[in-house]
């Protein structure tokens, strides 16, 4: 479904990702692991188009995305939940969802998807008229995910969805990820919390200093002594 070939990406003189190739197949949850600055977020930002300084190829459903701006990439069926949630704090919860559905022209479809989002996240339904900025961190994360789902993406990019959340909320977010995946959404997940990520993912890639160091089924990676030492706390 998604295929990265020899992706190089960076910021100014800094090369954050070098020669990265990876694949995500339809229906999978794939996770990108690595320490801070390994190039995980850069990879996601390259796919979604937020990062422009890049070479190589990014092919989604047979079409090249490398040169497209973010607003075109989302229309191909890829949504990103950005790092740090980036919800619109001065818009209400409901307006945030409306922005998420910006490319959906059919009002009935928007309404239907909003209802689905509120079913998935009842907390958001209670706060639909509240400004996004007044939500707690966990609620904001739910809103960021719900917003990304409004466009009914076939591939969902999740950047650090568990960051800064209490353990109980982390569990809840990973439950949602599983639920979305069994509903047919393919997921590419970037996580610092490698333990949780490997539990939910089918396959994983490990990055260090912008390069691929390991790849394989999630269960295998979780057993790998090197991975255990570096990312699972021994």
């Amino acid at each position: 479904m998604l295929e990265l070939n020899n992706l190089n990406a960076g910021y100014g003189p800094i090369q954050a990702v070098a020669g990265l190739s990876l694949k995500v197949a339809q229906g999978e949850i794939v996770t990108l692991l690595g320490s801070n600055g390994a190039g995980k977020s850069t990879t996601l930002r390259s796919i979604s188009g937020l990062l422009k300084q890049k070479t190589g190829s990014i092919v989604f459903e047979g079409k090249e995305l490398l040169k497209l701006p973010p607003e075109k990439i989302i229309s191909r069926g890829i949504s990103q939940v950005p790092e740090g949630r980036r919800i619109f704090g001065r818009l209400t919860v409901e307006e945030n969802l409306d922005v998420g559905a910006y490319l959906v022209r059919d009002k009935a479809v928007i309404r239907e998807r909003k209802e689905k989002a509120f079913e998935l996240f009842p907390r958001l339904a209670e706060r639909r008229r509240q400004k996004g900025g007044t939500l707690s961190g966990g609620e904001q994360q739910m809103l960021a995910i719900a917003r990304a789902l409004m466009q009914a993406p076939r591939l969902l990019l999740l950047d650090e969805p568990s960051m800064g959340l209490a353990p109980l909320l982390v569990e809840a977010i990973f439950d949602i990820i599983r639920q979305l995946n069994s509903g047919g959404t393919t997921i590419l997940l970037v996580e610092q919390n490698a333990r949780m990520a490997l539990k939910v993912a089918h396959r994983g890639y490990v990055l260090a200093n912008g390069r691929l160091t390991m790849e394989g089924p999630a269960a295998e990676l979780a057993r790998n002594p090197e991975v255990q030492k570096a990312y699972l706390g021994g």
Binding site: E71, Q80, P82, L91
Partner: protein, 319 residues
């Protein structure tokens, strides 16, 4: 003192007229600031172009279309359109190339705005020079619109009703557009976070351009109404109302749409009250011309003590 009180309703009404003009111009400043964090000082000239278009419509079409109301509609539409498109052109030619280069220095677009201002002033001066060989342009007699009524001791010309009416309609339309439509939602999200708006499928460049169009059109309509009310304009007429409207936008809280309206009305009233009462209350020590000083004194005090403006709030955002 009794005469002063008798004057008060008239002064308040005149302040209201000026206030609506300021409010409409201030909206252009505040909307562009909202999406770009740029004080588009060339907006004064967008307003000036509207005022010149207004006068030209009345003076070139009066012979063919004697009905002043039809002329007014034509002037408002043309003024709004030409000013709006000029604003879009300015954004395209002057500001967008700077963004494309990734200029981080905020002074660069600001100074560009001043440059654009000079260019537009001189362009209009050139065109008017070639066309009529005139610098000051005066409104033709607008017939019926000059007529007046006296209500509650206030002398009101028909054209003043029109100024207030058109302003209210425009403000209402803008509130609806920004608050209730898909475009408005896009404008608000680009104002908060352009790159995340891009992730939602919004093309921020397109929205920025639309914002210039809307702000420019409001400024242009304000120009037409200004020309109708105050009758004489010139290529440099934009400067003072423009900078007052900027003050109004800051007064209300820059980036805040209701704030721009409140700021405009407050400033219009303060200025008119000061212009009338300062000379009397100070025994002539301060003349009417000090009203401008007062407007900018407010700006300075505001920046010192309440930089977020009357309605603005320091936005807390959780990360």
């Amino acid at each position: 003192m009794d005469t002063l009180l008798l004057l008060l309703p008239q002064v308040l009404f005149d302040g209201l007229l000026l206030g609506f003009v300021y409010a409409m111009i201030a909206l252009g400043y505040t909307m562009v600031y909202g999406v770009l964090e740029l004080i588009n000082f060339a907006h004064s000239e967008i307003f000036m172009i509207g005022s010149v278009v207004g006068i030209e419509v009345f003076r070139s079409l009066t012979g063919y279309v004697p009905n002043p109301y039809i002329l007014l509609v034509v002037a408002v539409i043309l003024g709004g359109l030409i000013s709006g498109l000029t604003a879009v052109g300015v954004e395209r030619l002057a500001y967008r190339p700077l963004r494309k280069r990734g200029t981080k220095n905020r002074l660069v677009p600001l100074i560009t705005a001043f440059g654009v201002s000079f260019v537009l002033q001189d362009l209009v001066k050139l065109l008017e020079g070639l066309w009529h060989n005139e610098f000051f342009l005066s409104m033709k007699n607008v017939g019926e619109l000059e007529q007046s009524v006296t209500l509650f001791g206030i002398f009101i010309q028909y054209k003043s009703f029109i100024l207030i009416g058109v302003s209210l309609v425009m403000l209402g339309a803008l509130t609806w557009l920004v608050g209730r439509t898909r475009l408005g939602l896009a404008i608000r999200s680009v104002a908060q976070d352009p790159s995340t708006a891009g992730l939602m499928g919004i093309d921020p460049e397109k929205i920025i351009s639309r914002t210039f169009l809307i702000g420019g059109a409001l400024g242009g309509v304000a120009g037409v109404l200004f020309a109708l009310q105050y009758t004489t304009v010139s290529p440099y007429v934009g400067f003072l109302p423009g900078i007052k409207a900027f003050t109004a936008a800051v007064l209300g809280g820059i980036g805040n749409i209701p704030g721009a309206v409140v700021g405009g009305l407050v400033l219009g009233e303060i200025e008119t009250l000061a212009g009338t009462f300062l000379p009397v209350l100070t025994g002539g020590a301060f003349g009417t011309e000090y009203k401008d000083v007062l407007a900018f004194l407010i700006l300075i005090l505001l920046l010192l003590f309440r930089p977020q403006g009357l309605l603005g709030q320091i936005v807390k955002e959780k990360v």
